[in-house]
Chain length 343, copies 2
């Protein structure tokens, strides 16, 4: 973006899907080569983009048939907590510790905050506030912090943009969401597969992102705010595999097998394939005009619900014999009627 | 395929798109990392698959708006030429030389055949036959070679399967097509951008493939014939870039910019975005409800043909003010009428 700043109209939206590498220790759901899929908007502070990115998450995961929880928080809310706890200069230490909450629990976070030289009084305040999941109660708790109030107001605005829009996934404000990367400055997001829907699944976040003010300044472009989210393609694949969300063979399976009896009818049958497929019907032709028995056996092996038989009689009349393999019923119809019967 | 031979029903069709690497010297149109896109059918000798792969090439290149020439030949035809020329045991030498014909011309091929110890009489025969582009003349020239006749009959069968199917690209039988890889045994294919359509383009083939009998035997699975084609994704990209075949900015551009005047109407406008986009209309909302002048300037900068103005009056009436930026005309309509006017 910085390189092309003079050619672009801002706000600038982009998305990218590409392989990237990272020198991390590989572990479950953590690969050294992975596909990075992300969507960003650069050059505007508008919170309508936070709302739009939530809609994108919502649509993508609905399309993949994964039930997810999209969590949202705001770094300014976390800054407000640090302020109210009297440790505004230890915000990063606090954030890093809170980020581990779902892994190590409140006990672990308390210990980590302690090790990071945060006072017991501050730890008690932080713990008390983190347990408030209600935004009204939070507004009260953070009333003395301007930045905290601003963060909550931003969350409210994002929800206001989404009013009346029916999300297919759950959207949750989660005060304990912190995200490790320190460049986020506003709203932050994380997406997990819904543990209510998939109780046996053990999988980290499958998406995340947030708002970063001035991310581009280190590349020489000042005051350019942006917001972006990414998709963890490999983890999404793992979730879909573990939860059986890929289309079953049955759904993807052949609907009709064309069966021909000699070279001429085989060519005729081949020409019928195209209109069948154009009509969205999963059709295939047995590769050779061999014995009927062999072709019917193949149709049975593949559990094809229909076969279309094409011989001299059918070619002459311009009809195809459609046989329902379950009921055994059969009848001869012109191609357009076959299309509507199978469609 | 060999690994899963017991789970698969043959013929087995597959396609794959994945990055691969090769240790070649990089040059124009020849990359060290490239995307391999290919389609294969394994486990059948049926020539209907050759016809189907031609249809796939045809549909893909039509969808990409690239005019191509799909060339087809058959290795058995080349074997027939070697037989008629009296050099059946030098088939590979002959094929390798012929493969360079489009780069080095007949003179170069003649020289190469000579260097490969092929007799002058054989070279003369080969050259004479290669100049026959007519299948009837070829049938005569190869009449004494059983394998040559078989190759020509296979080509005829492929064309017969395609009878009545309207190809959007050119399909040409090309006796000089050889393809370097020696494992091809039957039909071979190569696709080039049509030089008549793009006279300034210098680009090698953008696709190729062929029939291989018994390819899998080196992995322990005998007598498994297959046919496959691949797409040169990077070269296709280069052709599209050089020939200006990517959608222009105009086609991909914004159709309507939504303009709001305060926070409330901005949220209202945001909610109108979704139905507009659902209807396939490229719509966007100016990120903030700022001054009209600034928003109209942005609309002009992006050459947006329409804007939708949304203020208190519009929200009250449930209408949006649609303005045609070219004619200056404007009128207020409910959303569904806006959809049909813009759709």
């Amino acid at each position: 973006v910085v390189m092309h700043q003079n050619e672009l109209s801002f706000p600038f939206k982009r998305y990218a899907i590409q392989p990237v590498w990272r020198a991390d220790r590989p572990q479950k759901g953590r690969y050294q080569e992975f596909y990075q899929c992300d969507v960003d908007v650069v050059g505007s502070d508008s919170l309508s983009y936070e709302a739009e990115l939530i809609q994108i998450y919502d649509e993508v995961f609905a399309a993949l048939h994964i039930q997810t929880v999209i969590r949202i928080n705001n770094r300014k809310v976390l800054a407000g907590i640090a302020e109210v706890a009297g440790i505004p200069d230890q915000l990063i230490d606090m954030t890093v510790a809170i980020d581990k909450l779902d892994k190590i629990g409140f006990g672990g976070v308390r210990k980590e905050l302690h090790e990071r030289a945060i006072s017991e009084a501050a730890i008690a305040t932080i713990e008390r506030i983190l347990q408030l999941q209600d935004r009204a109660a939070l507004r009260e708790a953070l009333a003395t912090s301007a930045v905290g109030r601003e963060g909550l107001a931003e969350i409210d605005t994002v929800f206001a943009y989404l009013e009346g829009y029916e999300l297919k996934n759950k959207l949750q404000f989660d005060i304990t969401l912190a995200r490790g990367l320190s460049y986020y400055t506003g709203c932050i997001f994380e997406v997990n597969a819904d543990t209510n829907a998939y109780p046996d699944l053990r999988m980290g976040s499958i998406g995340g992102g947030g708002r970063y003010a001035d991310l581009t300044s280190m590349f020489g472009l000042k005051n350019m705010s942006g917001v972006g989210v990414s998709f963890g393609a490999e983890r999404i694949y793992d979730v879909m595999a573990e939860c059986g969300l890929f289309p079953t063979e049955d759904e993807a399976a052949l609907k009709v097998l064309l069966i021909a009896f000699d070279e001429a009818s085989h060519r005729y049958a081949f020409r019928c394939l195209h209109p069948l497929r154009q009509a969205g019907i999963n059709a295939d032709l047995y590769p050779e005009p061999t014995k009927l028995k062999k072709q019917m056996k193949y149709a049975n092996d593949r559990s094809v619900p229909y076969v279309l038989l094409i011989g001299d009689k059918e070619m002459e009349r311009g009809e195809l014999t459609l046989k329902n393999m379950r009921t055994g019923e059969q009848g001869a119809y012109p191609l357009n009627q076959v299309l509507s019967r199978l469609g």
